[in-house]
Subunit: 218 residues, 2 copies
DNA sequence: CTGGCTCATTGTGTATACAACTTAAGTCAA
DNA sequence: TTGACTTAAGTTGTATACACAATGAGCCAG
C-alpha cells in the first residue's frame, strides 16, 4: 500500500491505521466491511483489498468466516516482536556502521548531541522523539528494503501495545543512555559494538514493558 | 494462507507456488486472472485473494493497472535476502542454543552425524537436503512465529533464484563444513558462536551465488 | 522508411446481487 | 430453571456484469 494512484484506498488504509494507533479502534474490535464501505465511499472489493494490506502489515487479523478484527497481543507475542526487532535492528546498526556516507553520520552526530544536551524537564517529551528518529534513521540507511519492510511491520505491531504502555520517566532515562551509546558506536564505525548495544537496548526495553504488564513477574 | 477450510483456494495457492518454484512460471511472467479462474474453477474475487497472499509471501508483484507477475530479483535484492537471512537465522541459532528441550538437540545431533558420515558420492544429493532440514529445524524451534514468518518469505524469495543457480559441488563441500560447525556449536549450547557461524555461513553462500551470477565480479 | 495517431482488443478495477455461514435470541420440553 | 433445538437477522464468501485503463496493430502523413 504505497504507490497507488486512487486516493480513496490510501485514505481508507491510513485512516484505519491511524484509528488503531490512536486507540480509537482497540485490539480485538471487529471491523464490519459494510460500515467501512459507507464510511469511505468504496465498494466491498477494494475495501477488502485495503483490509488485506492492513493484515499483511500486522495490524489486523482475518478470521475465516468472521471477518477482520484488530490484532491482539499477549506477552509471548510482545517478546517475539522484541526478539525480531533485535535481529532486524541489530543487523541494521551493524550495516550502517560500515557506510561511506558522511551525511548519514552527520545526522547521527546531531541526534546524539541533541539528546545529550536535553534538560531534565525536556527529557520525557523530547527524548522518545529523538529515539524514534534514531531508530528510523538507522533502518532507512541500511540499504535493505527487506529489513525495512520487516521493521515497518514490527513497528506497527508494537504500536498496538503503546496505548496501554505509558512508559515511566525512569525507563526513558535508561533509553537515553542506551541511545547515546549506540550512536557513539556508530560514529566510531564500530559495527559489532553498535549491534551488541542495539540488541541490549531492545532486550532492556522489552523487560521494562514486560514489567508494566506483569509487575509481579521476574 | 494456511488454515482455510475451502480446498480450492489452498489448491490454487499451492499450485501456483509450485509452478513458480519449479520454474514452470518464470520470474517476470504475467499471471492473467481470468485464465487462473478457469484453471482452478474459482471466480475473480477469491482468485485475487490468493494472488494477494502470494504477493505477501514474496512470490508475486502487483503492478497497479497491469496485474500480477512473478517476482524478479536483481543482484542487489539477492544480497538483501541474504543479509535478512543472516539477521533472522542468526538470531534463531542463538535462541535455540539456550533451549531446555533435549529432543531438539537430539535431532541436531542426528543430523550432524548423518552429514558427517556421508560418502563423497552421496554428498551432492543428500548434503543440501540435510542442510535444508537443519535450517528448517532451527527456525521451527526458536519459538518465535514472527521470525518464522520472515524466514518463510525469505525462503520463498530465495527459491526464485534456485532455478538459475545450479550450485557446484565445491560450494556444497564448503556448506557441509559450515553446517557441521553450526550444529556443533548448538550442541555445545554456545549461542554466540552458533549465531556467528550461521551468519558467516550465509555470507559465504551469498558470495558463492553472487559469483555464479557475475563470475567476473570480485 | 519512420514517427505518431486512432481504434480495437484485452485485462484489470469496481459495483452489486446472491449464496452460505455464523451468531444469538426465542421457544419448547424435560 | 435449564438444556437443546429452531429460526431469523446479520455478515462474510462468491459470482458476475459493467466501466475504465493499458497495450498493440494498423494506418496515414511527413
Amino acid at each position: 500500500m504505497s504507490q497507488e494512484k486512487n486516493p480513496t484506498k490510501n485514505d481508507a488504509y491510513n485512516a484505519i491505521q491511524k484509528q488503531i494507533q490512536e486507540g480509537e479502534l482497540a485490539p480485538g474490535d471487529w471491523l464490519v466491511e459494510r460500515d467501512l464501505c459507507d464510511q469511505f465511499g468504496l465498494s466491498r472489493t477494494p475495501m477488502r483489498e485495503v483490509l488485506w494490506h492492513l493484515e499483511k502489515d500486522g495490524l489486523l487479523i482475518q478470521s475465516p468466516g468472521r471477518g477482520f478484527r484488530v490484532r491482539e497481543l499477549n506477552l509471548q507475542e510482545i517478546m517475539e516482536i522484541f526478539q525480531a526487532r533485535e535481529a532486524v535492528e541489530g543487523m541494521a546498526a551493524f550495516l550502517v556502521s560500515h557506510l561511506h556516507d558522511q551525511a548519514f553520520f552527520d545526522v547521527i552526530s546531531e541526534l546524539r548531541k541533541e539528546l545529550e544536551s536535553l534538560k531534565d524537564d525536556e527529557l520525557q517529551e523530547t527524548g522518545p522523539q529523538i529515539g524514534a528518529r534514531m531508530h528510523s534513521h538507522i533502518i532507512s540507511h541500511a540499504n535493505n528494503s527487506i529489513l525495512k519492510g520487516f521493521y515497518t511491520k514490527l513497528k506497527n505491531m508494537y504500536s498496538l501495545t503503546v496505548n496501554i504502555t505509558r512508559r515511566s520517566r525512569e525507563i526513558e532515562m535508561v533509553s537515553r543512555d542506551s541511545h547515546l551509546a549506540i550512536m557513539k558506536a556508530i560514529e566510531d564505525r564500530n559495527g559489532e559494538l553498535a549491534e551488541k548495544l542495539m540488541r541490549e537496548h531492545l532486550r532492556e526495553t522489552c523487560r521494562d514493558i514486560t514489567k508494566i504488564f506483569y509487575p509481579n513477574l521476574i
